[in-house]
Symmetry: D2
Subunit: 345 residues, 4 copies
């Protein structure tokens, strides 16, 4: 059994990592580090974990963390500034759940996150942890940057098309909607039940920080700079992201041609579900699972394709992708601990 | 007090008309016609109406209906095929809540609704009942076609721009989301609580019947044919529609230029709320009210505007618009009975 | 037009008072006082109020408040300690929405609220503002203590039975469930969307502060001390309280006997809806309205009655009851501004 | 690997059995029988199951069913009338998810279900499949009657007290609330999203069919006839049941005495979580898991205990309990496939 530690264990990503790792079979959670609840049990915050045999929450120590085979850092961006370089340089394996090591260009990070990068020196060592794109580079790395939730949903839907020649790669519009857990456990007025229930809104319009992450990966996939319009919305649900993506098609492109491109890319992917013509994913098809479901329709009248992708923001969009990276980095089967079907109900 | 009848009173539009007319002050509901629940009280179906003093549900009779000053027909499309022409030809005033008289081109109706038009002979007499566009033509008409819910939300957001010269009118993409009441009271698997709660999906992609209605009005506003991509989604809320609309801007167009266009069109409109720069509407800002709220942002990086409009699908998107039409047709103040603020909570 | 001020206008009770008073017709909101958002507009917090013509939020001044005909204080318990006595002693009319003047016995207040009473000297002058019980005493008072939400729902359901001789008055168990707006606008972990949605819990079991208020009024109605078991629950809805109340019946008591007691008490009450045998209230029957709906069933097998009552915690349970009190205190018709039917959808 | 068949696979219990058995590890689903969707795939109805490798839906055949080691019947009550006796008599192992074999007294069944019992001859052979009470009798049986959802939640909370001498066993009142999935997949007006969302109601008051099942088991536990008042409510959530149970305590009974009784009974139970003093279960603590969580408080003022129990109606209240029974009947570890923590979010 590999030994795992989680730094920043009390947030929702920490909770979800704990939930998934409990049933993994190949790993054991050895340390749960926190700065807010030392000495408590995680199951006092989340009684759903009672009986799971987790260690107590404790104050971070480098030595304790390094005694693990792999460390998840589930901290707000910037907050892992000291810890991650320290563990990485000491030879530790780290999967960072924050945005800190996702962007290749430090200047882009500092522009969108409006603060200095916590450790530019090791940024280049980090591998973007989207297994479907970077499987081979993730296996040997000791520093994986786990992707964002909106970004995984959008990138997985668009990446196959970027070099296909079937679309205008400069026409991409991503209209996405997320459940409230995407905002995390911290309190804010807009995430109060009475303010978030029975309503719906766009937010972060033209300014959301997942934009440059999507653009980085789609540009790499295209081999040239790509800019997108990305509009997130807040849904009155706990979990799940659905992206409705609009692209202009080259003349005469058919449903079958698009499907061929997707099939070639994803036919063997264990966590991608392609939907046949006439069917599109919903949140309830993926919530609770590590799957990203993708379907599309062609609007012949306007020459556009409408691509719909869905995933659970806490699983394939965060903790599940983290476990998938962990499996690769520790040499376990990629799907171990991640095969539970979605909940539907 | 004007006398009002409602045909098809037991559906959600009938309920909402009854709710609004109870507090109107200038009208009295004289007849509630139904084909499904004769002899019952409407408040047996909807106990929220107990104490409102409504007449019993009864079987339709032409004479009874014509004794009213105005008749609302709240029937499924096609179902008013006999009744509406009969009342209209006998001199009655009719506001049809269905789609039957909304489309100027019979062929377009028959293509999208896949059935013969119920009465092509009187279709040309009907006025499209969107008061903000056709106020002067609605006042004298005896046949108003109350607009669709998605369509009102999209048309009010886009119409001012169509002749502005500020946008590419062929680039319009309307991504919209509606509460479940938009599907009406009839049962279907997808509207079952367990199937519609805690999820989100696109539906009717490239095929939704509100598409030609939007295109008709935007084409009329533009003075040339316009086609749009329209993608509706189902939200796990009872009420409300939010449209997120993407348009390509002409080079250099600013937030201020767009605002000027909207202000010129809507400054005096009692039911349009324009949002200042940096603010966008949410469902909870409009639900329960007869308002349509409109805001927008400019994405300089991609040269697009993102316009967000919101309304309550049952009020400004249906029964409230119907009352607004009724006020105009009967010579009452346009805002009478419609000034209640939105509920927020 | 009477002039009205609201102190503590930015909370949900303030919002709901503003919403109801906008359409009242007999009053005008002159001052909105706040300690947290001076100089802002209330509609910046609650855009649903845009266009309602409200005055700006301002810092409290005694003189400004006294220029109004009536002042609502919508502050947390204890927080009106200085303001209410000051206004009352200067001759102002005050409706206090907090718990401070609801309990006749200062010792009981201090035991349950665990702090000194803000002004014992004027406590005896306050009238408990439940119009259905104290209409005649409310009309002339200048200090009304608006009842609690759970308490109104429970008291209205039980009070008629207390002297009926039909029940064991010492067997009352009140199992109640409330929407999240009952907890107000302040943030707390348990009211975060992700923590309150798709779940249900009991809270404040054996310790909720509405218990002594219910007991006071039921004891007064009975003419002897009565103690109840009161268990509140948190529902994943915005609005509404439903109480399911269990009482042991005296031998042989029938549905008809109970109905006779209720009818005698409530037949002429404008805001009480009695349900016929076989029907019971739901939240959607009352939400948005000022009604309290009451129904019941008899369990012959166990000799108990199950009484179900429902109201909107923000309307009949707070702001609506406040407006009802205001109408009585200012000599307007009791139902003015309060006749809107419930929303159902 | 044991071979399993499910008869009535397309309902929510069938879905949930499929979801749980996919990850069980010791069994393989061999046949999925249906009367409504032959030839389809179950994952066409429930796309969450895509990739799970399930067999196609097929028409029931006795031979195919008997080729399995165990058959789940997930049919409405009465509908398994022919199938269950046939399989049982032919030597098959059956777990019936319906109510047909839960009641020992045929007359009680016929009184509450208002139809003849489908097979009185084998009713006496069935074991009530609540493992915590009847573990030893379930292991050897070939016919287990899987308990009801409300009933499991209530019985597990009350059974330990029945012979404790600490309570008045004739004072039990069970106020329970369930998510909408408890009503199954069939459509009905009250379970329509727009009718069930943002509301709350009591239903089946004094008449719910789970009443005699609760009474049977509590009477057996007490050794004398016990009658209860049971009031179910409908919650606007997908899953979960919470029971708030009121009992009169014998004089002077303490929290510690009650806890001792529960601890003695449940200390070693793998799926019962006892909550310490001051804590009570919520739905989100158990949903998705096979756990029943139980806590309680004592109301000294009124001499009552308030016991709160919670479980997921589809797991511990249905499919999970079914798998627990299956594990016992096939000689596998009782907890196999059932150890996933609750979801919390």
């Amino acid at each position: 059994m590999y030994k795992i530690s989680i730094i920043g264990a009390t947030g929702y990503v920490g909770l979800e990592l704990a939930r998934l790792l409990c049933g993994h079979g190949g790993v054991k959670i050895e340390h749960l580090f926190t700065t807010s609840a030392e000495g408590q049990q995680l199951d006092a915050l989340y009684p759903s974990l009672r009986g799971a045999g987790l260690p107590p929450l404790e104050t971070y120590s480098k030595e304790a963390a390094l005694s693990s085979d792999l460390v998840f850092t589930a901290l707000p961006h910037g907050a892992g500034g000291g810890v991650i370089p320290e563990l990485y340089r000491a030879g530790g394996r780290v999967i960072d759940m924050s945005a800190d090591y996702r962007l290749n260009d430090i200047a882009v990070y500092e522009q969108w996150y409006k603060s200095p990068h916590p450790c530019p020196e090791i940024n280049g060592d980090a591998v973007y942890g989207l297994c479907e794109l970077y499987r081979d580079r993730i296996k040997p790395t000791r520093l994986a940057a786990n992707p964002g939730c909106y970004t995984s949903c959008a990138i997985l839907a668009c990446a196959p098309l970027m070099k296909s020649g079937l679309i205008d790669i400069h026409s991409i519009i991503i209209d996405a909607a997320s459940g409230v857990s995407g905002a995390g456990r911290s309190l804010s007025q807009g995430m109060h039940f009475t303010e978030a229930h029975e309503t719906y809104k766009a937010y972060g319009v033209t300014t959301h920080r997942h934009t440059p992450e999507i653009e980085q990966e789609l540009s790499l996939a295209a081999g040239e700079p790509v800019y997108v319009t990305f509009t997130p919305h807040l849904l009155p649900v706990k979990r799940g992201i659905l992206s409705t993506i609009y692209v202009n098609l080259k003349d005469g492109v058919t449903q079958e041609q698009l499907m061929e491109v997707y099939t070639e890319k994803y036919a063997d992917e264990p966590f991608i579900t392609l939907y046949p013509k006439g069917e599109l994913p919903e949140l309830k098809h993926v919530n609770g699972s590590n799957r990203c479901a993708i379907g599309f329709a062609i609007d012949k009248r306007t020459g556009r394709a409408i691509i719909v992708s869905a995933l659970d923001n806490l699983v394939k969009g965060a903790a599940g992708a983290g476990v998938q990276n962990m499996n690769l980095m520790l040499g376990m089967p990629e799907t171990q601990g991640l095969t539970a079907p979605a909940w539907y109900l």
